[in-house]
Amino acid sequence: MGVCKVNGENYTKTKKRVGYIHRNKAKTVTYSKLGFRCGLEIHQQLKTEKKLFCRCPAGFYQDRTDFDAEIVRHMRPTLSELGEYDGTALMEFKTRKNIFYWIKNSTACTYEIDDTPPFKLNREALETALEVALILKTSIVGELHITRKQYLDGSIPTGFQRTAIVGIDGSIPLRGKNIKIIQLSIEEDSCREVSDIGHKRIYTTDRLGIPLIETVTEPVLLTPDEAVEAGQYLRFLTRSTNKVRTGIGAARQDVNVSIKGGTRVEIKGVSKLRMIPLLTHNEAFRQKALLEIKKDLALRGLKKSKWKATSVRISSKAVDLKTGFLKKSLEKGYLIIAVNLPGFKNILSFFTQPGTTFANEISDRLKVIACLDKPNMLYSEEFEGELNMADLEKARKTLGAGENDAQIIFRSHEDDMKTALETVEERCVLAFDGVPPETRKSLKNGTTVFERVLPGPNRMYPDTDSAPIPITENMIDLARDRMPEEISSRFTQLKKWKIPEDTYTYILKCNFCPLMTRIISDFKASPIFLGCLIGHHLRYIEGHFKPSSLFIPEKLYTLFKFIHQKKLGHEIIREMLKVVYQYPNMDFESVLITIKYIPATKEEILSNVSVLKEKFREIRYSKDPAAEVAWIMGHLRELALGNIRMKTLRKEIEEVCNA
């Protein structure tokens, strides 16, 4: 809102009343008291060569401003198969957006712009989806029916996403309990948004049509931590197939949150799992706040069915033109509308999320539904300095405003005014019910903003452009043969190997287990060494260095093989890895030269110990015998690497020093 004063007295007071605490201070009991429940919808792009319903290459992205052609579309709601309109669809139709698509020839064909019906579903994608459906232990359907899921926001030029259920009713194990999986579907990815200003929204069509699978869990996750764990487990699980895309945006989560007395609210497009705890924490308290507001309204004796807002246009004379927001709005040719909200005193400044109040709930909807870009409104507590007080009184009188009412003033163009007024009134009326079902967009700071009304089953429609695809027993058998090991047994394996726990996430996320098993059995590598090499060392290297060409994990196997054949000690791999990662095409002999490896026998190395011992005693800075050993080790480390084990070297030095 820009001018929102969230540090006001009422904000602080209501925040306390809601019982909002910092996420770090929250405990399991915090959430059980709230009746917190969470479910996940995990979208994971599949690593296929082509898109799901056309033959465009998948996985290539354009620079957002680089495009070959532009087209414009508008979306209209249509009826569901059962003959009903969907609420989201109707809301989105109100917004009257001009939707522009920026098309790049290399990533989009006439299918993406809905000028050609779909081609046959990508079999490669279906095979991977079946594999995941089996890992999730779902009941696999007999026939895949492509369904259209309506999206009128323009994120898909057809106005719907083609999607199909592969399996239902599966489960994953999580900390001794089973988390139920509602369904696994295969679907096409949507466009990427470039901008959304006023009535103009722009998308690129590069991501559109990339195959993805969506896994939906039951809302049985009872704390934010459990939610993130389930998310991680599902991510490891899909990655274990090795047939999914990784990288920014390749996996995205929708998180459903509700509390006792609240409603299911969907937080959309969470790209980082570690954002889930804060987002769900804040949403739980937002719902609590809305329930408190509901209570207040009831206490004030207000009736939802009788409640009505009144409005009046404010003339430019009434606005104190010396100041801020309203002055700028008038200069830009907006109309200024004042709305009276009966009985809403102190509601608009009521805490909802850190940094936001109930007024934001209205402002967010004005932006999305009526296309009023922010800042778009002011509310009673903010009027001072913006309005000539005498004129404000006049406006209040015209509105028939009473002592216990609240007012907002918004700016709008003539065409959007009607929708804007309806939007304000609608959101206030919804406050009587508590938490309206919504889809909300996550922000980087862990709060959310309104995105759209939560869609229901009414937005589904059979795709009349494609025939059903039978899923035969044979297809399932083939998928079963391709199935990787279960994630829970991988956890057990890592534990058995005694690998430090802090390496698990990285190892499972990048699906290193099969590779590790091969290295351990083929080259007798120490599991702990290997685990640390990957989970600590490789992870560090990945975060700090840039490879000159793509580093493929399989390289690690060839590296072990090379060292094995040369009969060198595995420890040298640590040193080599940094170079190999940066220059994956360099031959291993050259890598050895780069890290200054010199072949030497144990005797040759140890022959230096006595000289070094004498030198140390000459220049010694500490009487600690350990310091002496460390100093000598330091000098011999480079020479010893690959030739003898560090443990052996240390032992030998200790013997000489203690002698």
Binding site: D68, L79, E81, G142, T158, G159, I168, M460
Partner: protein, 460 residues
């Protein structure tokens, strides 16, 4: 078949009967792959008999293989009532009165459980429910004449339509809109152009390339544009009104005898061939692109000529065509043949004798060009002159389909081949034009820098 088992047959029907389950019943299905719960939907007749269709509570449909079913139990019943909310179309005094004839096609359609595809649906109330903007443009009356896909439109329908249009014009209507499937819209357009002459009001044909059951459908905008053109355009001709670019921007009014569907699925599929279109339509703004069109009048002196001879054929020539193709048409009693010849209007030597035979049997044979753009010029090469000597008459720059319609219409009026020739070669409504403008022929070639530049700056 019983409504209760709609679309099911064979194995699937046996299973439904075995467990006594109806279509639309909420059912629990136990299978060897797990258990499913949902509404049993009707099945498309073209799909196999080995699966049932179930709508899950989430709105998704899934198929269940009947040979995996171990048990089924009905626990509820919910029949779909697919209906566009009908609202009475408001009449405003002073607004032009427009008549919308429905013939079928995707302009207004809904789901058909029999075929799984979409079927036409249509009434002013439904239209108003779906496209309320129409009420801002005109007073709309509708009449359903047929409910057929455009490939099933033929001479019988052309005549009924022409007579119905004539009646409406004499009754005093301000404009006519005809909803039509897009595949053969240009055939019907040219038929109407010949059958309905001297119309005082616009006659607009319209359809849609994306069915109206999808949010991105072009149906609503096409209806808005066509009603607007019918109500306010000054052009009193038979026209096709469809998307100009694929973007939701403006429509083009194409002359009924020079328009052709040029892409199997694009929204902007209709193009005027060999000339430029008559006008563009953007909301209520109609911008003429040509000056020499027939103007709207206040009189009601429309002339209706509902004639058509069905024994006419359109022959698309290809190298290596054998004479027996033409012989068999003649032997089967065809009275007229339009040839779409190569280049300037040519066929190969082997068919000459068949053409000669056709000529001697009083079959009217006319030559058009399969290049679509350009005129027949049969004097340029010897081939052309030879062919003309066999009685084949070049039809100037008449489009092959238009030639077919016009020959059918002409032979419906007279047997006299001299008279036929006179009617065929006398332009009625720009099916033959004297001049081809320099910008008539325009096929952009993608990839070329200047075209790519154009595509970047203008909506295709």
């Amino acid at each position: 078949m019983l409504e209760m088992f709609k679309g099911y047959r064979g194995e699937a029907l046996t299973v439904l009967k075995k467990f006594n389950i109806r279509v639309w019943s909420e059912t629990r299905v136990d299978t060897t792959r797990g258990n499913f719960k949902g509404i049993v939907l009707p099945r498309s007749e073209n799909d196999d008999d080995r699966h049932l269709v179930l709508k899950l509570a989430t709105g998704y449909n899934v198929g269940i293989a009947v040979n995996t079913i171990t048990n089924m139990k009905e626990f509820g019943y919910k029949k779909a009532n697919y209906k566009i909310p009908e609202k009475e179309f408001p009449m405003t005094k002073g607004k032009p009165n427009i008549k919308l004839f429905g013939t079928g096609g995707t302009i207004a359609s809904r789901l058909d459980y029999r075929t799984g595809a979409v079927i036409p649906a249509f009434s002013p109330g439904e239209l108003y429910g779906a496209v309320p903007e129409l009420a801002d443009i005109c007073n709309l009356e509708t009449e359903k004449l047929f409910a057929v896909f455009s490939e099933n439109m033929g001479p019988k329908q052309y005549k009924i339509l022409a007579n119905a249009i004539g009646d409406e014009i004499r009754r005093g209507i301000d404009g006519i809109v005809i909803g039509h499937g897009t595949d053969t819209m240009h055939h019907t357009a040219s038929a109407l152009a010949f059958m309905v002459q001297n119309s005082p009001v616009p006659i607009i044909m319209v359809g849609s390339q994306r069915s109206s059951d999808r949010p991105s459908s072009d149906a609503a905008l096409n209806l808005i544009h066509s009603c607007s053109a019918a109500a306010y355009s000054d052009i009193a001709e038979v026209m096709v009104c469809m998307f100009g670019p694929t973007s939701d921007e403006y429509a083009i009014l194409h002359p009924g005898t020079r328009v052709r569907k040029m892409h199997s699925s694009y929204r902007s599929t209709f193009r005027t061939i060999g000339d430029i279109p008559l006008a563009t339509v953007e909301k209520d703004n109609i911008k003429p692109l040509k000056k020499d069109y027939r103007k709207r009048r206040n009189d009601r002196n429309v002339e209706i000529y509902p004639f058509f001879e069905e024994k006419v054929s359109l022959l698309y020539y290809y190298p290596n065509m054998h004479p027996d193709i033409i012989d068999s048409l003649v032997d089967n009693g065809y009275r007229g043949i339009i040839i779409a010849g190569t280049g300037l209007g040519h066929v190969n030597k082997p068919v000459y004798k068949a053409l000669d035979r056709a000529n001697k049997k009083n079959v009217a044979v006319y030559m058009t060009v399969q290049t679509l753009w350009g005129y027949t010029h049969m004097f340029v090469y010897e081939t052309g002159r030879d062919i003309m000597n066999l009685g084949v008459i070049p039809a100037e720059n008449m489009l092959p389909e238009v030639g077919y319609i016009k020959l059918g219409w002409t032979l419906g009026q007279t047997d006299d081949l001299k008279k036929v020739k006179e009617i065929m070669l006398t332009p009625i409504c720009s099916e033959i034009t004297e001049r081809e403008p320099y910008n008539g022929y325009l096929i952009l070639q993608g990839g070329i820098p200047e075209v790519e530049d154009f595509l970047k700056h203008f909506h295709k």
